[in-house]
């Protein structure tokens, strides 16, 4: 199931050290074109670190990262973005002093090579339904709206792979459903995703292909239901 279509992202044996601590200790993951891979695991298992390393926010200390056949290992973020990868943040970090429109405009102008910037900005805001707030200063948006703005900004760079880091954390049940539907619609336009999430029900509505991480390495790959039967997975989530 995980090897349908062309392989877009290939991460092998990735290592990231913070001092003596190996936050990533040889994790491997691959994502095929237009597919959604769920990424689960207990706190501190290295999910967000993996997203940070793939997107160039952190520099890795070993292993390899290939996107579309080319190495993006230790590339600067803007080059990774130009090659077609983008991400959202667990804790949103908008350009707080700028308007919603300018936040997305920056991404459309510098991150995307298509000519009609206005159309790209308009579409990205429409997908996340922030088009009514385009002249607002983004620092004044709610937490949930800032997360959506982060998603719109990432979309405006026209990624082929989107790394979604805990977009559901802190949202209500209705919002969860609504965001899951939004991510599915984005996926149908041909965008592959890695979706990091604590909320396993949320992952289940998106994909049956889940990677479980523990202690900086991958532990399991399969569906949520298979994961629930797996002794090792149950152990890292619930303890022995």
């Amino acid at each position: 199931m995980s090897h349908n279509g062309k392989r877009l992202l290939k991460v092998e044996g990735l290592v990231k050290k913070f001092g003596g601590f190996r936050a990533l200790n040889g994790v491997s993951i691959d994502v095929c074109e237009k597919r959604i891979v769920g990424l689960a695991g207990p706190n501190g298992s290295g999910k967000t670190t993996l997203i940070n390393v793939i997107s160039g926010v952190y520099k890795p200390d070993g292993g390899s990262v290939e996107f579309d056949g080319k190495s993006i290992y230790r590339s600067p973020s803007h080059k990774i973005v130009h090659s077609g990868v983008n991400r959202t943040f667990q804790i949103p970090r908008p350009l707080a002093g700028l308007t919603v429109w300018d936040n997305v405009r920056l991404a459309a102008v510098y991150g995307c090579c298509e000519a009609d910037k206005r159309e790209i900005i308009r579409k990205a805001l429409e997908i996340v339904q922030l088009d009514g707030l385009k002249d607002f200063i983004s620092g004044g948006l709610t937490f949930a709206q800032q997360k959506l703005l982060g998603l719109a900004t990432a979309l405006a760079t026209r990624p082929r792979l989107l790394l979604v880091d805990e977009i559901a954390a802190g949202l209500s049940h209705q919002e969860l459903d609504w965001i899951a539907q939004m991510l599915l619609r984005i996926s149908q336009t041909g965008v592959a995703m890695i979706v990091v999430e604590h909320h396993l029900g949320f992952i289940d509505t998106l994909t049956s292909d889940v990677v479980v991480m523990n202690a900086g390495a991958n532990l399991f790959r399969g569906s949520i239901h298979e994961a629930a039967q797996n002794e090792e997975v149950v152990e890292v989530f619930l303890g022995r």
Partner: protein, 306 residues
Amino acid sequence: MLKKIFPSLGVVLVVVAMFLGLPSIYSNQSFLFNLMLYLALAEGLNIIYGFTGYLPFGYVGFFGAGAYGSAIAVTLLHISPLWGVLWGGVAAVLIGIILIPLLRLSGAYFAIANLAASQALYYVVSNPALEKITQGPYGIDLSSVYNANAAYYALLGVLVFAMVLVAFIRNSDFGLCLLAIKEDRVTASLAGVNIVRARSIAWMLSAFVAGLCGAVFGWYSAVFYPSTVFSLDVSVFTIVFVLFGGIGTLAGPLAGALILYSMYNFIGISTPQYFQLFYGLLIIALVLFLPDGIASILRKGKVYVP
């Protein structure tokens, strides 16, 4: 977008008309020259500080590099002083290129490292061992090419260049990308911005303006010493003017320099010791209570500040 260019154009025209007209009403050309000098320096500092948030306490280093770069070109290579001004700008950009690695620092660390760099440059230039090139501590004599009127209008040209540059940056995508770097470097780079390149360009443009200013200042002064053109007062004055007026705008730094430099001349000359006290208190008050300067008061009243 186009709507916003007209106010900027208006500001530029008013300033030009002012400095073309004032010499026939007010005979103290030296005051007008220095005022213009600080207006141009304020806009130059605004490019790096106002848009990217890097506070260069050693900004005077570029000013001094410009003064010496052009003076050396004029005295040793026998270039005309007007072309020498351009050489001053180029000399400052070269120093800027050498200092680009400093941009890896941030906040106070950058400000202090830049201050140290300008002092290092000062001691190199004033070193008696370099007497054949820089005249060491004995100063430069340009009295053979002295022409106060020509230097005055050359500086007006530099000021127009600085204002147009800031107006362009403020209304362009490049300005947006610099503001993004100031807000959050990670978010900016994930929008696809090449941060190292963008901030280096801003840094060199800012250095170029200061270099041009230093060059014209040297020409106008005819005789100057390393201690004059590397004086920290130049950095401090410029920073206070920009902070007072409002960073990241075209009109803010102009207003700041105009108001405070005039005050300095009318109060400060007679009782300089009180004036320094006043300036120190003003910096503290601005940083604490009005970090975006007087422009932010207008902006609160929904007035667009060009």
